[in-house]
Subunit: 265 residues, 2 copies
């Protein structure tokens, strides 16, 4: 039990513990509570909900931040949340998990690939209010100042009100373009996907390799309620994301299939 | 355009291209269509929806199966689907993506960590009917024969009827216990999670490392409609899984928050 009344806030990310985004987030969170950082020791972008199963994990104390209990981990963002919850903070109740601030958008379909958001979703799986923050600017020296007030405001509201059970918040912030953000919009995830391109090259040993890149395709017909629309129009987007993946609306159709002695739901 | 009327079926997995599970699945799928395999060259269990961003990918032709166009890839299961869709089969329409048969359960919360299911979900993101098959037996020499008929039956139904847009099927099959499965049950994802244990050890250089393991905790109050219940009771479970993670039921509560000049949805 903590004798402090300040909330205990776990901070992690996927860009690694030395990135500018997590520095900004840690600085903001120390205004709101007692902060513990468990974050990857290397970039883990695109790691999705990966966990480390085939090899052991390393965890070391670091001294990067001010007045913060902090650790770097060899694993994925989800490993970090698991280590924090079940080892580092085993005997303390975590009040909030925040992940980010990611260098790059995690809106729409990107939520699936995002280590940042998977860490937040893992927090929600543990029953802890959890938020992933991402900036739509992937540069290492991205400008985060215009995001500060909104991040504090959203986090304060989450601490006061809690976050609906079974969901984590996916917060995306437009890149800085010399003016304040217009506001905050609660959204749904846009229907979008990537059309991958594979750049085939030959290594010095004569063997092929491929760089994966791609073009983002927004397939959403009714755009105004989506996170992509909000971001394109200068708003911060918040999408509550759930980890119950059941497509309930699909159950009726599949229940009509000829599956022999199948049972009704 | 294919001159054949047989469906084009892409097969992948997360245990690697030499595992027994994918051999079984390839053999079954050749009964139903023209099969192309793009699968990882190494075990990728627990990789979730990870993609390879920071390093290049390798893709090599293999000769493991009979009458099959087959490739091994250095990347994750989702990389395999992306390479298949946008490079190997760029000019051909894939009729079905099947992933597995996984050595180990991917029911309930395991769907988040599963490379097998993430490959299937990536197929669904691409608009292709997609199914992940998993056996609740993680042994390398697991017995798959009792699953054959049901896998053929479910796949035939998917080819005939399609799969509801926006979803992939998560099919889990009980471990073989000397008798046939009882039947097939359409289910929802059980509310469950892992309580991790970290086994701390010291390496020969005096430094700590951790093995992650854990205990499965089923938190679901009303169990009979869940995949866990079906599997425990000898049924094959099918859960349609969606990639729109929006927690629509949570939007109303968050819209009440004090977020300054926020907009309604």
């Amino acid at each position: 039990m903590s004798i402090s009344k300040r909330p205990l806030i776990l901070v992690t990310n996927d860009d690694g513990i030395t990135s500018l985004g997590i520095r900004t987030l840690v600085e903001l969170m120390t205004q709101l509570g007692d902060v513990v950082v468990v974050a990857p020791n290397s970039p883990q972008s695109g790691m999705g909900h990966a966990i480390t199963m085939g090899e052991p994990l390393r965890l070391y104390k670091t001294d990067i931040f001010v007045d913060v209990d902090e650790y770097e981990c060899s694993g994925t963002p989800v490993d970090c949340v698991k280590l924090a919850r079940h080892y580092v903070l085993k005997d303390r109740a975590i009040d909030l998990v925040v992940s980010g601030i990611n260098h790059g958008s995690n809106s729409s379909i990107n939520v699936l690939y995002s280590g940042t958001m998977s860490a937040a979703i893992e927090g929600a799986v543990e029953g802890i209010p959890s938020i992933g923050f991402s900036l739509c600017d992937f540069r290492e020296d991205a400008h985060f100042d215009h995001a500060r007030d909104a991040i504090l405001q959203i986090t304060r509201q989450a601490l006061e009100n809690g976050i609906p059970k079974g969901t984590a918040l996916n917060v995306n912030i437009p890149a800085f373009e010399g003016k304040p953000v217009k506001g905050i919009k609660i959204c749904r995830q846009a229907d979008a996907r990537w059309r991958e391109r594979f750049d085939k090259r030959v290594d010095p040993h004569g063997r092929n390799y491929f760089w994966m890149s791609g073009d983002f395709v927004n397939l959403d017909a009714e755009k105004a309620s989506t996170d992509e629309w909000a971001l394109e129009n200068g708003y911060i987007s918040i999408v509550p994301c759930q980890f119950d993946l059941t497509g309930y609306q699909a159950i009726a159709a599949i229940s009509q299939w000829n599956l022999g002695n199948s049972l009704p739901v």
